[in-house]
Amino acid sequence: MNDPILTLLAVIIAALMGLGAIGAAWRKPAREFIGYGAAGLTGMAALLATASLLLGNAPATLTLPLGLPGAAFRLGLDPLAAFFAVLAFAAGAAISVYAAAADNPPGGVAPLPVCLAGLGLAVLAADGLARGTGLAVAGTAIWALDPMHRAGATQLGIALLAAATVIVGAGAPPPAALLAASLGPGALAGVVPLHAWLMRAQRATAPAAALLSGALVPVAIYTMLRMLFASAAVAAPPTWWGPPLLVLGAASAVAGGLGATRRGDIDAVLGAWTVRQTGLMAIGLGIALTARAADLPAVTAMALGGVLLLAALQAVCGSLLPLVAGAIGQGAGTRRLDRLGGLVHRMPITSACLLAGLFGVAALPPGAGFAAIWLLFQALLALPRAGGLAFKLLLCGLAAVLGGAAALGSAGLLRVFGVVCLGRPRTPRAAAADEVARAALRPLLALAATAALLGVFVGPALHVLADPPIRALTGTGLGSRATLFGLAPGAGSPGYAALPLASLLLAAAGLVLWLRRLRGVPNRAVSGPAWDGGFAASPAWLPFGNPVTQSAGADFAPAVVLGPSVISAKARAQAARVPAFAGMTFAAVRTALRGPVAVLVVMAALLALCAWIGAT
């Protein structure tokens, strides 16, 4: 049962702890030493975990010589743990390189390797005590990276709560308690109604925020997967387990998507985006649970494929985007949307990375986010329809929520990228923005390239990395549903062909480019002032034009009032401060939105009436 890879991983975790101790005890060692040291160790660990996945090693365990008396920590390496170890360690490596090169967190970089060690422990733990300890260590270390941050204490509290529920949940309680216990990690991942803290906690310094959304959130999802799927007690979960997760996930996806089209600074927008991704993952978990209760392993596998893809995407884009936000804050002096603008000219590489990260999570083909939504929709379509009217309504609601999440993703991409990187600078400081150090850009570029490749090669990626854990969880793998070309709902049936689609797009673009180079088509453009509807150029004392005539990101999504928990009064006041277009608003449209809401409410009431009559 002794696995050399697991032993090596345990040694690496211990070395990371040692690195943190060196950094804490001895303030001298340069940031570079700690950062690059942690990056090297985690990079090695990620490679080892990948090797374990590829080799298909048998599950192994290892008892550590530490822990509570009579309850020594045990580590285990099975395909699911290996998959999430790859995610957490790879994200950790990129974040460490960035921390070494660019940012100087207020708490020093010493907590960084400690956090990575905690995450490694949480992923590789074979018992609840070790897993809870790992989560607690990781949460505390993230707090220590930025101890002055206002939301840090809440984040610490939530992490400790999740650790406590994991430890309690591991004591093999009755299944009902297990579902409740899985909501501790759920809160850590930002599932509604415990999501507001995540949007605030993203305002920490870049490495802390990136660790939070890119490494801790996937690990929290992993913990939920462990509690709900991997333990022997829940081989056949009760039917009612799925719907609560589905409803909470749908609420998170919509609340996060709406937040991303409304919040006033990049960090809060990214936090909202994390909530949206978590919501989608919770929907996937709910679909998988429902399918498992109905004994449909193929559908379970498909939904879990969506969850694992979203988790990988969160590890890549969830660490890329906060780092980009940090780079923007450093290079342009602010992270507020209404003080940025035009960064594509001054910070082209950072802007390209921002676009790649946003495109990855938005649901546009051929991005990976689209593949994930596609998989979830197919799993939804394959769910049994035998339930009552309430279950059918839930299915329809989920389809609409997936559509809404996709559209809100596009709107969020357009809003953040458009306001931050495009247009005219809104302040002199933004006009004087500069790229951060080249060494800090490298991890950003690597993560951006990974996000793009994950979208195009989603089939092979899932086949190689996600198939072993899914096979271990459900007994049936993705198999021929994930091939070189893309994804399919069943063996041999047509599906989403990512690679041919990307080739088709490139070929069409090439054809048009060729047509544009024909003789007689003037290709070189003359440059001049913007036409702007014929308005005169701005006076000399407004070098970037009149700031209020440019969109600052208001009204990119319909205003939907979801109660005070979703949008705090403060955020609403902040949104009101963001100027719209010189007084032009959608007030009339907002009023008109009552129409469809009324239509839907009446319809739902009628359906409920029908169901009631049918039931009696």
Binding site: G342, L414, G423, Y496, L505, W531, F581, G595, L600
Partner: protein, 304 residues
């Protein structure tokens, strides 16, 4: 041989779509003008406009980024890719395994987003306003579209592939769920085509503007084609049908597109261009219809 035929029909289909797109737009304008008592422009006018635009030298705003020149290209590429996926006169074309309804919606959304990115690039007020409006409308439209797709997918036995769905619809056309889905989809398309697209394109000129106008015409034809092929799959040739079947398919395709364009023109003539303020109500009703379609489909699937 089958593969060769599939590629041949695919190429033929694409050429047909690309050539017909501006003509259909012109026809719609012409019918609209005739119905409101004007002589109206020749249906070939959009082609002439495109040829004129292509010969002009583009003018670029000083602060435009490279994305601004790339956007028309990407917009047209995505729309052409979408156009190549929707069957017109025959099933079993070479790209049929790629033709997924969700992918189609995604490609059209991609084209929309790319254009909005370019609109935000120069930083002028009206273009930014129009870009926000695009995103805003998309947020209301896509839930309704996904509901319609759910209904069709359930009817089609758990697939979202266009060819399979059309084959299924050919067995029994316009049953109640499909009819509700058709009404919902038509409302969405009407509302999406409502707001004036000119706001986003004010800064474009020359060949770039020609590309965008072509993409707009092609996008409208793709929607007509989706409606025609999915809900009224009359005359679409089977994969094995020879040239005779193709000719029948082309004739019925032309007739369907003509009727749909005339319907849209008549509707525009009677009610005017749909107002943005009315779009939420239209999309709400579309979502309700989509919900109805999905529920009917789910109920009938249990019985079956």
């Amino acid at each position: 041989m089958t593969i060769l035929l599939a590629w041949f029909t695919q190429a033929l289909h694409l050429v047909l779509m690309l050539a017909a797109a501006p003509v259909v737009a012109g026809l719609q304008h012409w019918i609209e003008a005739r119905l409101s008592g004007r002589i109206g422009p020749d249906p070939w006018q959009p082609w002439r406009d495109l040829a004129r635009l292509v010969r002009k030298q583009p003018a670029l705003a000083e602060n435009a980024s490279p994305l601004f020149r790339a956007a028309p290209l990407a917009c047209v590429a995505a729309t052409v890719a979408a156009a190549s996926l929707v069957p017109s006169f025959t099933l079993g074309m070479a790209f049929a395994p790629l033709a997924d309804l969700l992918v189609l919606i995604g490609l059209l959304a991609f084209a929309r987003v790319v254009l909005a990115v370019a609109a935000l690039d120069v930083g002028t007020g009206p273009a930014g306003l129009a870009a926000g409006r695009t995103a805003w409308l998309g947020c209301l439209a896509e839930p309704a579209l996904f509901l319609v797709i759910l209904a069709l997918g359930v009817l089609g036995g758990g697939t979202t592939n266009l060819d399979l769905l059309i084959g299924q619809q050919q067995q029994g056309m316009l049953q109640p769920p499909a009819a509700a889905a058709l009404a919902g989809a038509a409302l969405v398309i009407l509302a999406l085509g409502g707001p004036d697209p000119a706001g986003q394109t004010a800064e474009f000129s020359g060949a770039d503007l020609a590309l965008i106008e072509f993409a707009e015409a092609l996008r409208r034809l793709v929607w007509f084609d989706v409606i025609g092929a999915l809900f009224l799959p009359l005359g679409i040739a089977e994969p094995a049908a020879g040239p005779l079947g193709w000719i029948v398919g082309m004739l019925s395709w032309g007739a369907k597109i003509l009727v749909l364009a005339a319907c849209l023109a008549a509707l525009r003539c009677a009610t005017g261009r749909p107002q943005l303020a009315r779009a939420p109500l239209m999309l709400g009703i579309a979502a309700a219809l989509g919900l109805l379609a999905a529920l009917l489909a789910l109920a009938s699937a249990v019985v079956a």
